[in-house]
């Protein structure tokens, strides 16, 4: 299951599995986001291409009005997938602190 919600500082907090079956749920939530936000992906365990597409579509929509998502706590397997998807070119991704 995917959990997506607003955190105490207004950031978007995502955890769980972002597979094809969760894309509609996530898209409905992200369509409510109308301005720049940080998106904390520290609890994200899995993402597939449909989930990547939802993030990309959200970024395109926000950028068209001068806003953007900034991705934080992107780790391990998820960072590798973002790299192969070219997400460094279209998102600001916060570097991870040293382990």
């Amino acid at each position: 299951m995917l959990d997506i919600k607003f955190g105490e500082q207004g950031q978007i907090v995502v955890s769980g599995r972002f597979d094809a079956s969760q894309a509609e749920h996530a898209e409905a939530f992200l369509n409510k986001v109308l301005e720049s936000r940080e998106m904390d992906l520290g609890g994200l365990q899995y993402i597939s291409s449909l989930g990547l597409g939802v993030l990309l579509a959200t970024q395109k929509r926000l950028m068209s009005s001068g806003h953007a998502l900034k991705l934080t706590n992107v780790r391990g397997h998820i960072r590798e997938i973002f790299h192969f998807s070219g997400f460094e070119q279209v998102f600001e991704i916060e570097p991870n602190p040293p382990a």
Binding site: A20, S21, S48, S49, G53, S85, G86, Q89
Partner: protein, 137 residues
């Protein structure tokens, strides 16, 4: 030591949770690391949903075979009585475009080709089998 499992699934994306459960049950018996498990599930999700969306003529269930030996995970998806479709011939997604030029979609096969260690394709008697290998760390 080798472990094997095989199951067939209806050609609808709504059975992805059942596919993940099947894979998790296999990994409980034949453990792999989290990264390998996630890569395998991602590759199966992308290949399966691709067959559901695009496989021409397919009506029968899609069979998934899992095999783990000492140092490799080997996964095959077989689509029966269909036209051939070799994912190795699919052009890479253009991931270096600007955000304005990029369109959501097209990343699935691109990711599979980068995340697994080897891909094979076999087409015989109108049955189409894609096999990928992930080396265990």
């Amino acid at each position: 030591m080798e472990s094997r499992a095989q199951q067939s699934f209806p050609r609808t994306a709504s059975c992805l949770p059942q596919i993940f459960a099947f894979m998790d049950a296999f990994f409980a018996e034949a453990p792999v690391g989290d990264a390998c498990r996630n890569t395998a599930q991602l590759a199966v999700e992308e290949l399966f949903t691709n067959l559901v969306k695009y496989s021409r003529g397919g009506k029968r269930d899609i069979r998934i075979d899992l095999r783990r030996d000492d140092d490799r995970l080997i996964v095959s998806l077989t689509d029966f009585d269909v036209e051939p479709f070799d994912i190795r011939t699919v052009p890479d997604a253009k991931t270096d475009l600007s955000l304005e030029e990029r369109k959501p979609g097209g990343l699935g096969i691109h990711l599979v080709k980068r995340l697994v260690d080897h891909i094979d394709y076999e087409y015989a008697d109108r049955n189409s089998t894609t096999t990928f290998i992930k080396n265990l760390e």
